[in-house]
Structures are given as structure tokens and as C-alpha cells.
């Protein structure tokens, strides 16, 4: 493994305000690569964060397959499928925005970042509608939970459903907030060929959040549905 340093001492120009990288780095490339590694490590911890939930889901699905199958039939596969398409679409627009940043095309970035935000909001809106349905159908765990069948264990399914999709939605909200800042910065022309780390890293994060959904959708909506 190389040290990643060029061995050039750049400390001399620490006073130069025009430098495009922070004082602890040797070069802009050094900073960019470091930021990328940081995001990958962050995603690794995110995987473990959701991993605890996936484990709980797997254990309970294995213990109560019948109740989980019954419960999953109460989820709206049309809305869920629609959301899956929306989210995959948003990953595409995000990827184009990153490409735009790399090419230094300001308005391409702005437009596709805005499109990504729009698709993200559509997803959250549909999710809110689904939550509303569950609320009316008394499928929110707690004292008002009603379920025809193995209610005790179906309740665990819905607990996990709300926690998993809720945390996923929270990640989307955070992502949309970051995208908002990016749009503003991109419109000011902050990103170009030389410096586009924030756009690229946000892209990584956004794709990660999509991938979480790509696992959540079949686990919650599809398995056990006949």
C-alpha cells in the first residue's frame, strides 16, 4: 500500500488563500481521494447500522414465517413498486448530476440535482400515503393494533416495517437536505472539473440509500406473497 503522499512539502504555501485544499493535505487529489475513502467507511458503518435490523427481520421471519407472510400481504405492492421505480430513477438523475459536475456543466448539475430532489420527495410522499393507510387499517403497532390472524407476531412485522422504512426515510430526508445545499452551491458555480467531491460523495450516499430500499422492498413486500 502506498503512502499516498507525493513527498512534496507544501507547508510553505499554507498562507496562500488560493489553495484549493485544506492545510492537512498535500494536493487536491490527495484531498479528493481521502474524502472518497471517508465516505466508503461511512457507508460501511451504515450497512452495519441497517444490518442489526436486517438480522432482527431474518430471525423473526424464520421464527414466524406464517405471520410474516400474512402481514406482508397487507402492504401495498403497487405503491411499493412505484416507489422502487421512482428511487431507481432518482439514482439515474443523481448519477447524471455527478457526471455534470465532473464535466463542469453548471446547469446540467443544477437541473439533475433538482430532479433528484423531486423524485426523492415523490418517494417520501408516496411513503406518507402508505403510512396513512396503515394507520387507518389499525396496522400501526401499539394498543390500537388490529390484525386478523396471528396478531402477536404480525405486530413484530409491522414494528420492523415502520422502523426500517422509517429509518430509510430519515436517510432520504437527510439526503434531500444535503442535495438542497448542493443545488445552491452548484448554482453559484462552486463545483467543476477541479473540485466536485461533495457532489460525488453525496451521489455515493444517495445510491447507498437506494440500495437499502432495493433490499427492503422484496423483504417486506414480496417474499411470502402468493
Amino acid at each position: 500500500m502506498s503512502t499516498g503522499h507525493a513527498g512534496v512539502d507544501t507547508r510553505g504555501d499554507s498562507s496562500a488563500g488560493a489553495r484549493a485544499y485544506a492545510h492537512q493535505f498535500d494536493s487536491a487529489e490527495h484531498q479528493h481521494g481521502t474524502a472518497q475513502l471517508g465516505m466508503w467507511v461511512f457507508i460501511a458503518q451504515e450497512i452495519l447500522f441497517f444490518g442489526g435490523l436486517f438480522l432482527a427481520y431474518t430471525v423473526y421471519r424464520f421464527m414466524y414465517p406464517e405471520a410474516f407472510a400474512q402481514a406482508s400481504r397487507h402492504l401495498d405492492i403497487v405503491l411499493g413498486g412505484f416507489n422502487t421505480v421512482v428511487l431507481i430513477g432518482s439514482s439515474l438523475t443523481m448519477a447524471i448530476a455527478v457526471h455534470g459536475a465532473q464535466l463542469g456543466k453548471r446547469w446540467m448539475q443544477v437541473i439533475f440535482l433538482l430532479l433528484t430532489i423531486f423524485l426523492g420527495c415523490v418517494f417520501l410522499g408516496v411513503k406518507a400515503i402508505e403510512y396513512g393507510h396503515k394507520f387507518h387499517e389499525h396496522l400501526v403497532p401499539g394498543p390500537n393494533f388490529r390484525f386478523d390472524g396471528d396478531a402477536g407476531h404480525a405486530q413484530i412485522f409491522f414494528s420492523l416495517y415502520f422502523v426500517m422504512t422509517g429509518l430509510h426515510a430519515l436517510h432520504m430526508v437527510i439526503g434531500i437536505a444535503i442535495l438542497g445545499v448542493l443545488v445552491w452551491q452548484a448554482a453559484r458555480g462552486a463545483y467543476g472539473r477541479a473540485y466536485y467531491s461533495p457532489v460525488e460523495l453525496t451521489g455515493l450516499y444517495w445510491h447507498f440509500v437506494d440500495i437499502i430500499w432495493i433490499f427492503l422492498f422484496p423483504l417486506l413486500y414480496l417474499i411470502g406473497r402468493h
Partner: protein, 533 residues
């Protein structure tokens, strides 16, 4: 000593609270965790006083239960886990690898604020009634039965977890990307290897406890059934998830300490570390194997016999790299030039206490034995030998060793040696009797206990008094040294390592010119004559 350094580079409270300098952030952590240690120590004092007599006559049962819970939460999450990484690691990781700062200085400052936010939640829980679930938060007690401030305490731990995660992320990226030219992986100081291994646990373990503790809060707050059997859940699943992090967390506490001890032994015996590669790799082995042994906390929980056997055998395996370290440290002393400075006394104390803690850990991995002593004082004694004997001795040893670098002042040597000896003796007096009490069958978390255990408990409380005095000593003379200590030279110990090649205290950018590394670590035969005092 009027040259510009990180301490006098800037003035005013905001120059500290908004600093991005890893060294200043380390000082922020040092102050915060010391305060938390005093708070946790106060709880410990009350616990030991209560246990002087078999009857529960000093504290009410509920109060006692809150005391041991809050002692555990404060000491584990707010002192031991951040201790070495966030203070010494923060200060030294960039310096030891010849970097100007960590890779993400702003994130580093954010970690401290997140830590403080978590501490605020937990302190709120403590001062508005307390928590009584035990630091383990076992369900369904924590979600359904307890009527104390479980949710704020849980959120405090959840939040603080992200401080650990971000610190670990920063270390991993820094060690990968910011090493000085020529500083290859197998030239890294063992302190760095230990922190790399620790950071892996931070990254892969902490998120799991975060989500687990969040689920506890959700179940308790919204009546969502996840772990409570009354709501269809499985309380043992909580234990699996909890220990998946909390067993590796023990290695979070002790691995950095091992890194410190490696530095101390090599420096004060003036010899390169025996079997450097094995010591380095054993840290990684502990980090990896440490993730596979959590089930040894569940031998009597109703876990299947086969699962228990697998966890038992894996637990024996994780003991091997620890043993390898102890043997290598011992061998490092061979034909050295050993100086009994206070840090070395701490380091040797660490080896002694860690050996006892480790071997009793092996006992607990032994299935038939664990059934008897599980959840007794034997376990309490064991983990204090590792976490207080081990982690704390390493922390104090390291704090003394690098104190000249951190503060620019020398600590007084003789009080420090006496302090180290008192702590070692006091520690053994406190916790050794607990091994016996545990084997005789005294369960842990008992407010009252049958009278036959009193003698051992009195011994333990007496020892705790000695230990308490021992801890007050360094607190006093280190503060004293800030004003009256001798000014420290750049390299008072004639040690190798990049952190000693820059003034004490270091300038904000750490090094005047980026160091260029051409040799392996700990080359004590090549210290130039000119450096001899």
C-alpha cells in the same frame, strides 16, 4: 519556551470550542472524560459504601440499582470507550504518522460535540431521576418493567455512539491516507496499529448497538413489539444484538491500552519491540475474532447447546493473540536497559492485571465453569481487571508518558511512581476478593447480600478507598505540574517516534517540515549520542 505552539497559538474560549486542531480537541476530550470519570467514581464510591454491610442500610434498593447502572453507563460509554482513542489517539495519531492533522478536522470537532450532546442526554437522565436497568439494558425489563429515565439514557448512548463512529472513521482514513513519506505499514508504531484495529470495531460494532438501543427506545416509547415476549418478541435477540457490540467494545477499551503499553515498554527498556509483526497483527486478530465471540455472554440464557459450544471455542481462540502480546512484551525486556519511570510501572502493572483479567476470561469461556459464576461477582472482578486494570493502567501510563508532549511540562517523577504503586495495590485489594465472592456464589447487582459474604466485601471496600486515593494523586500532581512542573524538552525520554521530533508542546501544524521516514519503528540502537542528557 515562548515559541508559538498549539496552546498559545490563540486565546479565548471560542478558540478552543471552535478549534479544528486535533491537539486542542484532544484536550477538550481530556477535560470532559475526566469529569465523567469523577462522576462515575462517585457512583462507585456509593456502591462500595453500601456493600460494607449485608443489610441494605445506606441506600434504598432503587437508589442502589440506579447507582450501579449509572456507574456502568458513565464509565463504559463516557469514560473508557473514549479514553485512550479520543484523548491520546486524537493527540498522537497524526503526530505519530507525521501528519499535520487528522483527515477530517471538522468532523473531529463534530465528534466532540456529539459526545457532549450524548453526555447531556445521559446527565439529564441521571439528574432527573436516574436509570435502573443496568448498563446492559436487558429487555423486557428495560422496555416494559422499569419506570425510570430509560429513553433519555438510551438516546444519550445512541448519540454518543456516533461520536465513536466518526472518530473511528477519521482514524481509519487518516492512517490510510496521511502517513508521512516512507512510513510504510510495517514501520508504523504499534500504537497506530492498535488504534487502527480499534477503529475497525468502532465502525463495525457501534452502529449495531446504536440501532439496538434505538429499538429499545422505540419499543418502550411507542409500544412497538420487538423484544418483549408479551408483544410477541424475543428478549434473547436483544442480548445477541447487544453483545455483538458490547463484547467487541471490551476490545475498544483494551486494544488502545495495549498499543500504549507497547510504546512504554520499548521506550523504557530501550529495545525494539520483540516480534513487532506478531504484536501488530495480533491487534488485528483480536479486532476480527472479537466479533465472533459475543455468544459467551448467553451460556445460561437458553441459547442452544451447539451455539454455546461454538462461541466457547471461538472465545478460546481470541485469547491466543492476547497471550502472544503478553509474551512479546515480556521478551522485549530481555537484555534491555530498563528504567523504572512511572509510565513503565503502569505498563508492567497493566501486564500483571491484564494477565489475571485475561486468564479469568478464559475461565468464563469454559462452558461448565461459566454456568456457576455467570452473573456473579466473579464476572464483575474479571471485567474490572480488564477494563479498569487494563484500560485504566494503559491510559494513565500513556497520559504520563506523553504528558510532557501534551502540556509542555514534566510531571514530578516520585509522586507519580508512588501513585502508580498505590493504584496497583488498591486495585488488587478491591477486585481480587470479588473473584472469591463470585465463586462462593454472590450474585452481582445485589443491594443486600447474605452475611457470609461480608468479610470479602469489607476487604473490597477498603481496597476501593486505597484505589480512590491512588486516582486522586495523578489528578493533583498533573494539575500542579501545569504551573510548577519543569519545562519539558522535545524528547525527554530519548524515545523514537515522530511525535518526539517536534517541540513540546508542538506547534499547530505539528512539524516544521514533513518528516521523511527511512527506518522501522523503535530503532533504539541508532539514537544519536548528541541526544544524551
Amino acid at each position: 519556551m515562548t515559541s508559538t505552539n498549539y496552546i498559545n497559538a490563540d486565546y479565548g474560549i471560542w478558540s478552543w470550542l471552535l478549534t479544528k486542531d486535533h491537539k486542542r480537541i484532544a484536550i477538550l476530550y481530556l477535560v470532559s472524560i475526566t469529569l465523567m470519570f469523577i462522576l462515575g467514581g462517585f457512583f462507585a464510591l456509593l456502591i462500595r459504601l453500601e456493600l460494607l454491610t449485608p443489610a441494605g442500610d445506606l441506600l434504598a434498593a432503587d437508589t442502589y440499582n440506579k447507582m450501579f447502572t449509572m456507574h456502568g453507563i458513565v464509565m463504559v460509554f463516557f469514560f473508557l470507550i473514549p479514553s485512550i482513542p479520543a484523548v491520546l489517539g486524537n493527540f498522537l495519531v497524526p503526530m505519530m504518522i507525521g501528519a499535520r492533522d487528522l483527515a477530517f478536522p471538522r468532523l473531529n470537532l463534530a465528534s466532540w460535540y456529539i459526545y457532549m450532546a450524548g453526555a447531556a442526554f445521559t446527565l439529564y437522565a441521571i439528574f432527573t431521576g436516574g436509570v435502573d436497568t443496568g448498563w446492559t439494558f436487558y429487555t423486557p425489563y428495560s422496555t416494559a418493567a422499569a419506570n425510570t429515565k430509560v429513553i433519555p439514557a438510551a438516546l444519550g448512548i445512541f448519540i454518543t455512539g456516533f461520536s465513536s463512529i466518526l472518530t473511528g472513521l477519521n482514524f481509519i482514513v487518516t492512517i490510510h491516507r496521511m502517513r508521512a513519506p516512507g512510513l510504510t505499514w510495517f514501520r508504523l508504531p504499534l500504537f497506530i496499529w492498535a488504534h487502527y484495529a480499534t477503529s475497525i470495531i468502532f465502525i463495525l460494532g457501534t452502529p449495531v448497538i446504536a440501532i439496538t438501543i434505538l429499538l429499545v427506545a422505540v419499543e418502550r416509547g411507542f409500544n412497538f413489539g420487538i423484544f418483549d415476549p408479551k408483544l410477541g418478541g424475543d428478549p434473547v435477540l436483544f442480548q445477541h444484538l447487544f453483545w455483538f457490540y458490547s463484547h467487541p467494545a471490551v476490545y475498544i477499551m483494551v486494544l488502545p491500552s495495549m498499543g500504549v503499553v507497547s510504546e512504554l515498554i520499548t521506550c523504557f527498556s530501550r529495545k525494539t519491540v520483540f516480534g513487532y509483526g506478531f504484536v501488530a497483527v495480533s491487534s488485528m486478530a483480536i479486532a476480527v475474532l472479537g466479533f465472533l465471540v459475543w455468544g459467551h455472554h448467553l451460556f445460561v440464557s437458553g441459547q442452544s447447546v451447539y451455539a454455546s459450544m461454538i462461541f466457547s471455542v471461538l472465545s478460546f481462540l481470541v485469547a491466543i493473540p492476547s497471550a502472544v502480546k503478553v509474551f512479546n512484551w515480556t521478551a522485549t525486556l530481555y537484555r534491555g536497559s530498563i528504567e523504572f519511570a512511572a509510565p513503565l510501572i503502569y505498563a508492567l502493572g497493566f501486564i500483571g492485571l491484564f494477565t489475571i483479567g485475561g486468564l479469568t476470561g478464559v475461565f468464563l469461556a469454559t462452558l461448565g465453569f461459566d454456568v456457576h459464576v455467570h452473573d456473579t461477582y466473579f464476572v464483575v472482578a474479571h471485567f474490572h481487571y480488564i477494563m479498569v486494570g487494563g484500560a485504566m493502567m494503559g491510559y494513565l501510563g500513556g497520559l504520563h508518558y506523553w504528558w510532557p508532549k501534551i502540556s509542555g511540562r514534566m510531571y514530578p517523577e516520585w509522586p507519580a511512581r508512588i501513585g502508580a504503586a498505590i493504584i496497583f495495590i488498591g486495585f488488587n485489594l478491591t477486585f481480587f476478593p470479588q473473584f472469591l465472592a463470585g465463586y462462593l456464589g454472590m450474585p452481582r447487582r445485589y443491594h443486600m447480600y447474605p452475611p457470609e459474604f461480608q468479610v470479602l466485601n469489607v476487604m473490597s471496600t477498603a481496597g476501593a478507598t486505597v484505589l480512590g486515593i491512588g486516582y486522586l494523586l495523578p489528578l493533583t500532581y498533573l494539575l500542579w505540574s501545569l504551573r510548577y512542573g519543569k519545562a519539558a524538552p522535545a524528547n525527554p525520554w530519548r524515545a523514537t517516534g515522530l511525535e518526539w521530533q517536534t517541540p513540546s508542546p508542538p506547534p499547530t501544524d505539528n512539524f516544521a517540515t514533513t518528516p521523511f521516514v527511512t527506518e522501522e519503528a523503535y530503532d533504539y540502537s541508532s539514537v544519536p549520542e548528541a541526544e544524551l542528557v
